[in-house]
Amino acid sequence: MKLKNKLVTAVLGALLCVTVAGCGGGGEQAASNDSAEHVVETTDVATQGAKKDWKIAVVVKDSSNGWFARMEQGVKQYAADTGINAYQKGPVSTDAAQQVQVIQDVINQDINALCVVPVDPAAVDPVLQEARNKGIVVITHEGSTCKNSDYDLEAFNNAGYGAFIMDKLQESMGGQGTYTTMVAHLTNASQNEWANGAVAEQEAKYPGLHLLDNPKRVESENNSEKAYQVAKEVLKSHPEVTGFVGTSSMDTPGIARAINELGLKGKVFVVGTGMPNECRSLIQDGSLSYITLWDPAEAGYAMCVMARMILEGKTIENGTNLGLKSYENLVVSKDNPHLFMGAGWIAINKDNVDKYNF
């Protein structure tokens, strides 16, 4: 048994070495390796607390992924800002079984709080139960279906995110024109909620904009080539369209490529979910107005703030301020009293795209 534990530790150690090597040699920009880089704007609330000797571990889905490298910057900044021992770990690839091992490893390191971004909520539930039995505070992110967490923190609610996309789109379109919406599939729940949120925001706030009559919503099949083709077809048959709401991260670059090629840059605008590295050149050449997403660094920081609050006996409730711009007014879910949502969306355009490397 002891031998087995040693083996597991050895294997995990080896994996971590590989991970660190992988992160360092990934050809990413050198600036991102600065350990306490200031990536998240905070207020005093975020750093306040009675005690400083807490130990907080953040376990992510995949340590080799740029998204979570960005999250780690947030966690490192939290550690630097507060002096609390907060650190991030994760499996070398997105693998539920490996993640369970990493969690098991960190709960044996005398931690006070555990923040997890689960690969598979059902698979981590037993080990989260183990952590809670040891008195460890458990917080999940993107894991609202986990039964054994104290709280789940989400970056935003779906309708609010859609409204945010619309705010940016109407700004780009100059407050007037016709737009339509794109989703991966009409059956995709969250993307359609985002698109509905965008339409609701426009109807409530922006009388200068109109939703195209037919098609009101088109499908990209989560394929950026299809998004490109569909956008072209919409623009051919409906020249009055000057705006697109993209929801999937495949929609937005596809539509932008169509706009660029058709020679409609500056006349037709697209705003939607997208990844900075992939969309960078399209943003810089002006085909893509804004990409929207939530900042993983902020989410990582926010989880740590929340963990410390709970450790210090504070209760999390509707309106709780975590001291970060996107999380200064938490909203509790109607269906789940342990699920809290921020307003963690950000918009990236020409001016700030180079700040994000994932």
Binding site: P215, E233, K236, L262, E278, S281
Partner: protein, 335 residues
């Protein structure tokens, strides 16, 4: 010869296609505009290239469902690992073709040597390729490296619509498509290898007795299909200007449907390059004209399905009629 053409599947698929094009033109007034045609050729190019490899396989009574996986894996490995090594786009293509060739040879060897059903074998290699790409190479969306990005932005020519002012670019990759179509046509119609492919599809034992090398021919077609899949994978990434590992998933069904629609028989031994391309053209036109036709998004899939069935039915009814006529003709000949 002329009469045979009017009875062929190709003629009827072409007829359905022509009628559809006219209908779209009447409805939208935009179908025959230069920029729309360029858009269609572009959308047609990638699946059409897959059609060539797939029809070889179907003619020999097999079916290959592994090419999207081979293409994706080759594309991801090459685009994520070769960035630092070279800036020559040609080498990216060659490396991807080599990876595709290896997987194709594995497919071919298992199918030709052990006579396993092609569908099951290629389903297996497909799963393995996606697995290797995800597990070993940790596939994710990846920015396209500079040499391929540049190639992707190079255009053969652009067409601007004088009325709407909309411009469409013809990607240089179209040259590869034309080349591959020519090679496919040449092999099938002008070489002994092509005769062998038809002969094996008609009757494998008879082909063997007639002196065709069945094992080598089957190895060739799967290797060819795999090798071309690697090429097409990289080409696709230059058109997307990004590396999307799951982008081609599901395309096998469209390609098989196009081949069958164009008269390539699943029972083997029959099919032409023209037919398969017409089948693909029909599917491309339908898929890219639904908004021009003002068909509601909810109903688009129903419409696409209906066109596939109508297209197949027209040629199926025709060939059934032909079969009946054949017996009558024989009788007439005797009397």
């Amino acid at each position: 010869m002329k009469r045979r053409f009017f009875k062929s599947t190709e003629f009827y698929v072409g007829l359905v296609l022509a009628l559809l094009c006219i209908a779209i033109q009447l409805k939208s007034g935009q179908f025959f505009s230069g920029n729309n045609l360029v858009d269609l050729v572009r959308a047609f190019s990638i699946p059409a290239m897959f059609c060539i490899g797939e029809m070889f396989v179907i003619i020999t009574k097999g079916v290959d469902v592994s090419f999207p996986a081979i293409a994706s894996m080759a594309m991801f490995i090459v685009c994520s690992k070769m960035e630092a090594l070279t800036s020559n786009p040609l080498l990216f293509f060659l490396a991807a073709m080599l990876i595709g060739l290896v997987v194709g040879l594995v497919n071919g060897y298992i199918i030709a040597r052990f006579k396993f059903p092609a569908l099951i074998v290629t389903l297996g290699t497909s799963s393995i390729c996606f697995g290797i790409m995800q597990g070993v190479f940790k596939s994710r969306e990846y920015p396209l490296c500079a040499p391929l990005y540049e190639l992707g932005q190079t255009k053969l020519f652009s067409v601007t619509n004088p009325v709407s002012g909309l411009t469409s670019d013809m990607p240089v990759g179209i040259i590869l498509m034309l080349l591959l179509i020519f090679v496919g046509w040449f092999i099938l119609n002008k070489t002994m290898l092509g005769r062998g492919i038809y002969a094996i599809g008609g009757d494998e034992k008879a082909a063997q007795r007639a002196g065709f090398h069945v094992f080598r021919t089957l190895m060739f077609i799967y290797a060819f299909s795999g090798c071309m899949a690697g090429l097409i994978g990289v080409l696709r990434s230059t058109m997307l200007l990004a590396v999307h590992p799951n982008n081609l998933m599901g395309m096998e069904m469209t390609v098989i449907a196009a081949c069958v629609l164009g008269g390539v028989r699943m029972e083997g031994g029959k099919g032409s390059v023209l037919g398969a391309l017409l089948g693909m053209a029909l599917l491309t036109v339908v898929d890219n004209s639904l908004i021009l036709l003002e068909i509601n998004t909810t109903w688009q899939k129903v419409f696409v399905g209906a066109i596939i069935i109508i297209g197949t039915a027209v040629s199926a009814i025709q060939s059934k009629r032909d079969a009946q006529k054949l017996t009558v003709q024989v009788d007439e000949g005797r009397s």
